[in-house]
């Protein structure tokens, strides 16, 4: 089934409605947080699938717009700009995350908050090196 097909989006919509209904009706002995999770995920799936279905219908009526969208999505300069902006955003986030533990420490917050930020920082750096190794093997 194609990722952007109408059938797939109708199935996602039906799943979203079922999840939303289950969350709202609190089917069985559903815990409150599980019910909230169902409502959240269900609403998200409904919104996403309806938006996709609208776009599929719009593209069917306006094939030139669809072609334009496909060109822009695959445009190498656009992809390069997107990748560069993601890399810059990562660098900025990591720099900010280096400062946050000190701020949390001096704010006299529980020590686990500081360790949580440090752990997340280490995870981000670890993930970066994982991808360096991964792409070094394929490029």
């Amino acid at each position: 089934m194609k990722k952007g097909s109408a059938v797939r989006n109708v199935m996602v919509l039906a799943t979203g409605i079922l999840l939303l209904a289950a969350g709202l009706l609190e089917v069985g002995d559903m815990a409150r947080n599980v019910s909230g999770l169902c409502i959240g995920i269900g609403s998200g799936l409904i919104g996403m699938s309806i938006a996709n279905l609208i776009m599929i219908r719009y593209y069917a009526k306006h094939p030139t717009f669809k072609r334009q969208h496909e060109i822009e999505a695959g445009d190498e300069r656009g992809i390069a700009i997107n990748n560069l902006s993601k890399a810059k955003a990562f660098d900025t986030t990591v720099r900010i995350m280096m400062v946050i533990p000190f701020v949390l420490f001096f704010m006299d917050l529980p020590v686990w908050t500081t360790f949580a930020v440090i752990a997340f920082y280490m995870f981000s750096i670890g993930l970066r090196y994982y991808y360096i190794v991964k792409y070094s093997k394929v490029m």
Partner: protein
């Protein structure tokens, strides 16, 4: 440094930026950036451009030592 004669060659062929962009499946802004020298194309796009104009790559893109 990579320079190019894309604008000159495109105008010689009487083609609009939009038409070239459509033929190469890139955005018009990419053609504009290439012509202004703000963006260097991938080797694949450089080949596509060369094939489109039926010219060798080095006649369109010129590498100069800085």
């Amino acid at each position: 440094m990579l320079k190019n004669r894309l604008e000159e060659i495109r105008k010689q062929h009487g083609i609009k930026q939009e038409e070239l962009a459509e033929a190469l499946a890139v955005s018009r802004q990419t053609i504009g950036s290439l012509e202004n020298g703000r963006y260097n194309p991938s080797i694949i796009l450089a080949f596509k451009i060369a094939r489109y104009f039926k010219l060798p790559i080095e006649e369109i893109f010129i590498y100069e030592e800085e």
